[in-house]
């Protein structure tokens, strides 16, 4: 065999010619006989398989055989193909991509939390029960509501839990009602959650200010309506200044006011939903309370409720007994039941409480700075990009591509072009009521230099749209991969690697 047959030429030179590997093989493509990345202690008990053959498998065909070295390389190199908060501004509207304090990670990894088991005896779990109890108290104080369930795994599950509590409360009065009102600006999880709670969804048109049209609400708010699901501030970043009237209208008809608290970051520590007439509200610990987004979760979606909805909280609740001991209370006959196993995404509770404890009574500064930053961007881009709703912005601002479309450039193109300037794009194509939306949420953890650089980039792109739209339409030009064919992906589905596949 001649040596030149052996020295294989690697992936295309175009890709080699870049200090960052643009194409990393699948870990399955690294597999090879005789490689192993692990080892276990020798078995110290008899080696038995006491299961009938026909219930066994002989091998896991196609699984990997790689060394630890390749795992380190593969996942380090893959990670470098990602953009993340710690690299730069990540103004993904509605997602609150804020700095994740590192002490939270240290705390969550303490063996007393990370290596604890949810079904250990209560006596052996007093620390974790107390932590859950304290987090509930802190969230109750911040929302101005009576009780909180920490069980929901993320915001969407929190929505479902909240609406199910409303439904259960209404059932008590005889009829659960049929409908949930949801503004047209709402996040998609709202109607989806209402649907999985067994309700019809009725959409509420927003008024020209982008807020709830009180007249429309008056007419829509019938005795068939179980609840109004309202996002505060709404997904345009606008605070419902008539919130008290809204609550009055909803309550007058015996309905409940549900608050989608995914945007709590805009007023945490400044105002209390409980005082707004909110009956039930979910929060996203992974947004307002800085638990990391992890490339798409885990999240955690606690739900706060008024005293009157407390009997319907998911089971179990954490209670503190008069003797100071903490116990789980399963004996809650009116509970909606449970939405998942155990107490919830406990590791996120640890991080959130660490965060809340770090801010303490100064947590209002979070909201203040988040709102300043969003308005600074708004001021910097006003006139450059079109602003459909010019009501005052809170923590985010939603521009659109209206001034650029005539040059054949879409919000998606602008988003892609931002990558070339070293930023993650804003949220595009949401909220649905703004066509060609550019939904920008800088959060409070961005300093002026970063905001200035972003504003500068957005202005440059606007200039490019006018002078040289193609460079924007063909963007990105400097990312590990160029524009990705998403249509092709859906048309010709390849959802996994297959043994033997190239």
């Amino acid at each position: 065999m001649s040596s030149t047959d052996v020295f294989e030429t690697p992936v295309s030179d175009r890709d080699r010619l870049h200090p960052e590997p643009r194409v990393e093989p699948l870990i399955f493509e690294r597999s090879g006989q005789g490689k192993r990345g692990y080892s276990l202690p020798p078995l110290d008990v008899p080696d038995t398989v006491a299961i009938p053959k026909d219930l066994l498998r002989t091998e896991i065909e196609g699984e990997t055989q790689v060394s630890e070295v390749e795992i380190a390389r593969h996942f380090t190199r893959l990670s470098r193909l990602n953009f993340s908060i710690d690299q730069g501004l990540y103004p993904l509207g509605s997602c609150t991509m804020k700095h994740n304090p590192r002490v939270n990670e240290e705390m969550a990894r303490l063996p007393g939390f990370a290596a604890a088991h949810p079904l250990a005896p209560e006596e052996a779990s007093q620390g974790s029960l107390e932590l859950a109890w304290r987090l509930e108290r802190a969230l109750a104080e911040l929302t101005g509501l009576a009780r909180v369930t920490l069980q929901p795994s993320a915001g969407a599950q929190g929505e479902l839990a909240g609406i199910l509590m409303v439904r259960k409360a209404l059932e008590k009065t005889g009829r659960p009602r049929t409908t949930v009102l949801i503004p047209d600006s709402a996040h998609g999880t709202n109607p989806a959650s209402a649907h999985f709670a067994g309700y019809k969804v009725r959409e509420l048109k927003s008024n020209p200010k982008g807020t709830v049209d009180l007249a429309a609400l008056e007419t829509a708010m019938t005795e068939d309506v179980a609840a109004l699901m309202l996002t505060v501030p709404n997904t345009l970043g606008v605070f419902e200044d008539r919130i008290l009237d809204i609550a009055r209208i909803v309550h007058a008809k015996g309905g409940y006011l549900y608050c989608d608290g995914a945007n709590f970051n805009a007023f945490v520590g400044v105002a209390k939903p409980g005082r707004m007439g909110v009956d039930v509200m979910h929060m996203n610990l992974h947004k307002t309370f800085s638990t990391p987004h992890g490339g798409g979760g885990p999240g955690s979606g606690p739900v706060a409720v008024t005293e009157s909805l407390a009997p319907f909280l998911p089971r179990p609740t954490v209670e503190r007994r008069s003797d100071g001991r903490f116990v789980l209370d399963f004996d809650r006959p009116d509970s909606i039941g449970r939405l998942r196993t155990f107490l919830g995404n406990y590791g996120m509770f640890v991080r959130a409480l660490s965060y809340i404890a770090s801010y303490g009574n100064r947590i209002g500064e979070v909201a203040e700075n988040a709102v300043v930053n969003a308005n600074y961007i708004r001021a910097g881009l006003a006139g450059v990009y079109h602003l459909k709703y010019d009501a005052p912005s809170m923590h985010e601002v939603v521009f659109s591509d209206k001034s650029q479309v005539d040059r054949g450039v879409s919000n998606m193109d602008i988003a892609k072009r931002l990558m070339d300037y070293g930023f993650h794009p804003p949220t595009v194509s949401f909220p649905l009521i703004v066509h060609g939306a550019l939904m920008i949420e800088p959060t409070e953890t961005e300093g002026k230099p970063g905001l200035d650089a972003f504003i500068h980039a957005m202005r440059e792109i606007a200039r490019e749209c006018a002078e040289d739209p193609d460079i924007v339409r063909k963007a990105p030009h400097t990312t590990p991969v160029r524009r990705v064919d998403e249509v092709g992906a859906a048309r010709n589905l390849v959802l996994r690697w297959r043994p033997g596949a190239p």
Binding site: D15, R36, L55, F267, T341, Y359, N361, V372
Partner: protein, 459 residues
């Protein structure tokens, strides 16, 4: 404030640029009546946070400082250092759902690899990017089946499914006008084929069985899938201890249409019950009804292989109330951890972990069976978990017994009374590759001592 990067002068400049004189002006739309400062303590320093939370952590028994035999849905398996250390990387930890593929190929390719691992383990063709955890994964599987088998209202669940999974299913179903029928277990502690067949009728859209079931007994996937097929329903294989998939005949091979459950034991720490890692896989024909995120392979403008989220028309942000699920944020970081773990252990390692867990459990089961005062109520094959019954007149409550052992730093199992107050004499014991023979012997000796003090004497 240590997490706020704006300097005083910068903040002033910014307010000036905005054109307001104070931050308060920006909150004008918030009615004074709803304002209010929180009554919370002063900010804690990092040192105090460590003391506060470290103090709480130290008051929990954990798997590293006890002889540990808890399972029942969460398992203490080996995880390599490299997996957790990788999660510290900001590029993994502080990114979000990969909506923008050009700057998210790392997360996307990792999910694609995770989907592949799940397919290989379950023997099915398509898997999603993760679900919250096992119980909601079962619900999603049931709702998926309901969409696929139109016009039917009944789901048949084996009583061998984890009680918290069943309770979760009831929570969701009651409000959707769907019916759940639970089929009790046979005298052998496994799903009763006859009872199962009897429970299935023309209105049944799904039949779900768990293996190993909640008592640790290995079930035969074919029982459910055959029963389902005859009635036109879909069969759902539920897995709460995913390590078993490396040793037991996979759901796909057993004819299951959908496999779902909990993958925590494949590389995710126990985390006191969360974050865990729900999974769902199915056949290709059903892929358009799958809930949650899916990553697909495609190409970039220059023809390179690339990955992106796909089939999003199933999802809430587009389909709203008509979506296949309301899930949005899922368990991304745990899917990554699991991908790293499965890739590292691979073909041989996953199997060896399963074999060792099984062998350790077999040893422990045999040793406990020898101790007067305890019996193993079911003789059927188990994987790494089994039921123990305290003999006698019921004077000894299993939960109290386990509390006493806990004080001696032995977490000996989960009492069934946690789920059924009447079931006071039985508890579930789990073993994994991390248990040593020595600590198992300590556990057995402690059980013997308990029995002796309760008046039992060896034969």
């Amino acid at each position: 404030m240590k997490f706020l990067p704006a300097s005083d002068s910068e903040r002033k400049q910014m307010l000036a640029a905005i054109g307001v004189s104070s931050i308060d002006d920006l909150f004008a739309s918030v009615p004074p009546a709803v304002r209010g400062k929180p009554d919370l303590p002063a900010p804690l320093s990092e040192i105090e946070v460590r003391r506060f939370l470290g103090g709480l952590a130290s008051r929990n028994a954990n798997a590293r400082d006890t002889a540990f035999f808890l399972g029942a849905g969460v398992y203490n398996h080996y995880v390599s250092s490299i997996a957790d250390q990788m999660l510290y990387r900001a590029e993994w930890l502080t990114a979000y759902t990969p909506y923008q593929p050009e700057v998210s190929q790392g997360t996307l390719q990792s999910i694609f690899e995770f989907q592949t691992h799940i397919c290989l383990l379950t023997g099915l063709e398509v898997a999603n990017a993760s679900l919250y955890e096992g119980a909601s994964a079962l619900v999603e599987a049931l709702l998926m089946a309901d969409r696929l088998v139109k016009g039917r209202r009944r789901a048949v669940l084996s009583a061998g499914i984890h009680p918290e999974y069943r309770e979760t299913a009831r929570t969701y179903f009651t409000n959707l006008g769907l019916e759940i029928v639970e089929v009790p277990l046979s005298a052998a502690g496994v799903t009763d084929p006859a009872a199962l067949a009897a429970a299935i009728d023309a209105t049944t859209f799904a039949v779900a069985v768990q293996s190993p079931n909640f008592y640790g007994l290995v079930e035969d996937w074919r029982v459910a899938s055959e029963a389902a097929r005859t009635s036109g329903a879909l069969s759902i294989a539920v897995v709460a201890e995913a390590v078993s998939l490396a040793l037991l005949s996979p759901p796909g091979a057993g004819g299951a249409d959908i496999a779902c459950g909990e993958a925590q034991s494949l590389g995710v720490p126990m985390h006191n019950g969360g974050p865990l890692l729900g999974f769902l896989s199915c056949k290709t024909d059903h892929q358009r009804q799958i809930p949650g995120r899916l990553v697909g392979q495609t190409r970039d403008a220059e023809g390179r292989r690339a990955f992106c989220l796909t089939l999003s028309t199933r999802e809430q942000h587009i389909r709203r109330e008509k979506a296949t699920s309301n899930i949005c944020t899922n368990q991304g970081l745990m899917a990554l951890a699991s991908n790293i773990h499965m890739s590292l252990l691979g073909k041989e390692g996953l199997r060896e972990v399963a074999l060792q867990s099984h062998a350790k459990a077999e040893y422990l089961k045999r040793e406990i069976a020898k101790v007067p005062g305890y019996r193993i109520p079911y003789g059927g094959p188990t994987f790494n978990e089994f039921l123990v019954e305290v003999e006698g007149d019921g004077a000894v409550d299993a939960a109290d017994l386990l509390d006493r052992l806990a004080r001696r730093r032995i977490l000996g199992g989960v009492p069934l009374s946690r789920y059924d107050r009447a079931d006071r004499r039985r508890f579930v014991v789990a073993a994994t590759e991390l248990n040593t023979r020595a600590e198992m012997d300590v556990f057995v000796a402690a059980l013997a001592a308990e029995a002796a003090s309760a008046g039992h004497t060896g034969a």
